[in-house]
């Protein structure tokens, strides 16, 4: 069990539900970044079989293994998918120098009907200025039901977020997050390490819940993303359902959105 100080807070969990990601800038120490970068350049990172216990995939001397065994990273993992998640797959995403065309928008995998969710880490081992990319994400897109590249016709959204960051930055995203690699106009090759993990336990209050009653949950879960347009209230319903699942309370609501729809009295009115 990881020290509680490394677990996510309730406020961070609510932000994950509302936005579909959490971002940790310059989070991984530089010696780890340099070693992981070298492993990616060498193309020598061991590939596990989907469904393997994460801790069994990389040996103690693996640089990326060391990154994901850091207590701070383990705290993120445990808060979202539990102590012993399964390795789904990883990919070293490479964008060659002077690549002027962005990748098409996509979500990974196919339409996923679960309330349970996988997480994906996007790990940037080197500085990534805008002219180098990096990966573009669309905050708040994670509950949209689309099949992989069905969204390839889109190009730009209000609120799209290119991950421009310092070395050692780590993003953790919900499996449904829309994203695309951005052009690399520099002379250096860009790397990003992506790792998908599956939960093995029920995702209920796995984080540090000391602030469960104090965190500004309602404001966070009611957040708008400007590209939603008229769909923002539907997205709030998606978040309410996810939060109910995470805290194990089917009466939770934001404002009165779901309570209103669930009010279906059946009792007959007694005569005066």
């Amino acid at each position: 069990m990881i020290d509680k100080k490394h677990l996510l807070t309730t406020e961070q969990m609510a932000n994950f539900v509302a936005d579909g990601y959490l971002r940790f800038d310059a989070f991984i120490p530089d010696e780890f970044n340099k070693a992981a970068h070298a492993e990616m350049e060498d193309g020598m990172i061991v590939r596990g079989r989907g469904g393997t216990v994460l801790n069994d995939v990389w040996t103690d001397d693996s640089a990326v293994g060391k990154v994901f065994r850091l207590p701070e990273v383990q705290g993120i993992i445990q808060s979202l998918v539990g102590e012993d998640p399964l390795y789904d797959h990883h990919a070293v995403h490479i964008v060659r120098p002077q690549n002027e065309v962005g990748q098409i928008w996509h979500a990974d995998a196919i339409i996923d009907l679960r309330m349970h969710f996988d997480i994906q880490f996007f790990y940037f081992s080197h500085d990534t200025p805008r002219e180098m990319g990096g990966t573009m994400i669309l905050p708040g897109s994670h509950y949209r039901r689309v099949c992989e590249t069905d969204i390839a016709r889109y190009q730009n959204f209000l609120g799209q977020m290119p991950v421009v960051c310092e070395a050692g930055t780590l993003l953790v995203v919900h499996h449904g997050m829309w994203h695309c690699a951005q052009p690399n106009l520099t002379e250096q090759t860009r790397y990003m390490f992506k790792l998908r993990l599956n939960p093995t336990v029920r995702q209920r209050q796995l984080w540090n819940t000391e602030d469960l009653d104090a965190a500004p949950i309602h404001g966070i879960l009611g957040r708008n993303h400007r590209w939603y347009g008229n769909d923002v209230r539907l997205e709030i319903v998606n978040r309410i359902k996810q939060w109910r699942f995470l805290i194990g309370d089917d009466s939770f609501d934001v404002g009165y959105w779901l309570s209103r729809l669930e009010n279906m009295p059946e009792g007959a009115q007694e005569a005066a």
Binding site: N156, F157, Y228, N238
Partner: protein
């Protein structure tokens, strides 16, 4: 006769009202002058479909509106209010 080629502008709106704000946009250039790509602009080229029409773009597709399928009332997916506009431009 000048040779004409089509440019397409796809605007996604806040509501079906053609005056409502653009929330997403894409451009496809058949003249071969420019290749547009993901993430290539932070602000939309027009604030609404009507504003684009005033600049000479012709609307060639309206989004159809359907009631939600039973069981799908609260699901979200693609951007629903998608308008396709065109301009014809001469090529050299």
């Amino acid at each position: 006769m000048p040779e004409l080629r089509q440019k397409l502008l796809v605007l996604h709106l806040h509501t079906p009202d053609l005056n409502s704000n653009v929330v997403a946009w894409a451009m496809y250039d058949g003249t071969g002058t420019k290749r547009h790509t993901t993430g290539d602009s932070e602000t939309p080229p027009y604030n609404s479909v009507v504003e684009a029409m005033r600049d000479g773009w012709r609307v060639i597709q309206f989004p159809q509106q359907f009631p939600a399928y039973p069981g799908m009332e609260y699901h979200t997916s693609y951007l629903r209010f998608e308008y396709v506009l065109e301009k014809l431009e001469e090529i050299q």
